[in-house]
């Protein structure tokens, strides 16, 4: 029952987020700050993980191609497909559920515990619009981070391939360029936009509606990570089935 009422509450939160907007001059500053905190601040970890996971995908693929009839350029092809279709949008988003999600939940949760949200409400400010809306807007730049992740993943694969001696640079590049389907990019970025919205709103929901003290802020962050990951995985399945199935 609580689960169903929480789903309802989540959608009411989304609706309320768009009501009585905060002054643009203030909102602009909040959006820029959230872009810095949530997107720019995540570029380092996205770049690091993408590069090395791209490398690992390449090594694993190369080591599993034992049949001499399978051309070596398939290593580049498999890396590109894995990185673009799944690793960059989905796997990175789950990591972001930990990084960005727990930041959002703990910062909003702390504001709840210390009555800062009550202070906003008493002043007549729509606290959901003030706190959640700029995060949702800022996260619309998240696909930019994912694009960098895609590039670095493929680059990491290339580095691992060439320097590890698994294939030649020419084979890898041939594989990366082979049978390229632009719709796969559209599918990937569409997923990323949906994940960005989830990454901004589910952790906000857990922070905004939390009750209790400092201990509960920690618990809310953990719950938020779990639910954000679960929803991302479910939505990933649904979107993949709808768009590629």
């Amino acid at each position: 029952m609580t689960f169903i009422s929480n789903i309802g509450l989540y959608f009411l939160m989304i609706k309320e987020m768009f009501r009585k907007p905060t002054k643009w001059s203030v909102m602009k500053g909040l959006i820029l700050k959230d872009i810095d905190d949530l997107v720019i601040g995540s570029l380092g970890i996205v770049a690091f993980i993408s590069f090395f996971v791209g490398g690992v995908i390449t090594i694993q693929t190369a080591l599993n191609i034992t049949n001499p009839l399978i051309p070596k350029y398939l290593v580049g092809f498999a890396t590109r497909q894995s990185v673009i279709l799944e690793f960059a949008p989905t796997f990175t988003s789950i990591i972001m559920a930990g990084k960005v999600g727990s930041f959002i939940t703990s910062s909003i949760g702390t504001m709840r515990v210390t009555e800062q949200i009550d202070a906003l409400e008493v002043m007549g400010i729509n606290s959901l619009n003030y706190l959640v809306f700029p995060k949702a807007v800022a996260m619309m730049l998240y696909p930019f981070a994912i694009a960098i992740g895609m590039f670095l993943g493929i680059l990491g694969g290339m580095a691992a391939c060439v320097y590890g001696g698994y294939t030649t640079l020419e084979d890898y590049i041939t594989g990366v360029q082979m049978d390229f389907d632009g719709f796969h990019m559209a599918y990937s970025f569409l997923k990323t936009f949906v994940f960005a919205f989830i990454l901004a709103t589910i952790p906000s929901f857990h922070g905004y509606y939390m009750k209790g003290g400092a201990l509960e802020v920690g618990k809310a962050s953990t719950t938020s990570f779990v639910w954000t990951s679960v929803v991302i995985i479910l939505i990933n399945y649904i979107l993949t089935d709808m768009l590629l199935g």
């Binding site: 009585k20 210390t114 800062q116 202070a119 008493v122 002043m123 007549g124």
Partner: protein, 255 residues
């Protein structure tokens, strides 16, 4: 003026407020007192619209709160200043930015005008040199003064204070009490303070509402509280030996 009639509020089976009537006038410092669990925080939060109430009416200068639309409620709240128990300062902003916050949200003032207004109110609460400090760098007393400055910066009609002296030493508590009373007189606003600090009651209680078990048990002022023979009030207010002696001396002096 704020008028409350027959206010009821329950949380599940717990009936917290059981039909409270009270009125709070302009230019007067009104205190809501009572033991922990008497319902005073719920009462204040109902007045502020943070808790929806079950029955009764709350009217702000004749406007009945429950009959207002959501937007009208938000507009009314813009006329309210609130000092929270824990100050509730925005910890990502400096003290000056905290004070300027209501101006940024509700006025079309330029940055320099907002800074000038923040200077005036920060001076008013005796904080001339703390503009660029973060709230975490300020002491408890300073944080309370910043919260008062933020509450009055936009010239509110109503000022609410939830336990403004909690966690403060007696000397700082008196400074805060006097500041609230001076501001109430100066701005001619309705001030409602939720407190269980007996020093505040004696110092600034121009009107006192005593709550017990969710009911208004007694109403009076700092002068009449010495003479009351209401047992619940005397048991609560004069629970310490010191206050018992003070009361005895006061009554002997009056005879």
């Amino acid at each position: 003026m704020i008028e409350v009639k027959g206010l009821h509020k329950s949380f599940g089976d717990a009936h917290i407020l059981k039909g409270i009537d009270a009125s709070f006038e302009k230019g007067k410092t009104s205190l809501v007192i009572g033991q922990s669990g008497s319902g005073k925080t719920v009462f204040i939060k109902c007045l502020l619209g943070l808790f929806p109430y079950d029955e009764g009416t709350i009217s702000y200068d004749g406007k009945i709160y429950s009959e207002l639309t959501e937007d009208q409620k938000r507009d009314l709240r813009a006329e309210i200043g609130m000092v929270f128990q824990g100050s509730a300062l925005f910890d990502s902003m400096t003290i000056q930015e905290n004070v300027m916050f209501p101006l940024r949200m509700f006025t079309k003032m330029s940055k320099s005008e907002m800074e000038d207004r923040a200077d005036i109110v920060l001076k008013r609460v005796n904080l001339d040199d703390a503009h660029h400090k973060m709230p975490s760098e300020a002491s408890g007393g300073m944080q309370k003064r910043v919260a008062i400055a933020r509450a009055i910066v936009n010239n509110p009609k109503y000022l609410f204070c939830d336990e403004p002296n909690s966690g403060l030493d007696p000397k700082t508590a008196i400074v805060i009490d006097n500041l609230i009373q001076e501001i109430t007189d100066e701005y001619n606003i309705v001030t409602v303070i939720n407190s269980h600090d007996m020093n505040s009651v004696m110092e600034i209680g121009e009107k006192i509402v005593f709550l017990q078990y969710g009911l208004k048990e007694w109403e009076g002022s700092k002068d009449t509280i010495f003479r009351t023979d209401n047992k619940a009030v005397t048991d609560f207010v004069y629970s310490s030996e010191l206050f018992k002696k003070v009361r005895k001396m006061y009554l002997e002096e009056k005879q």
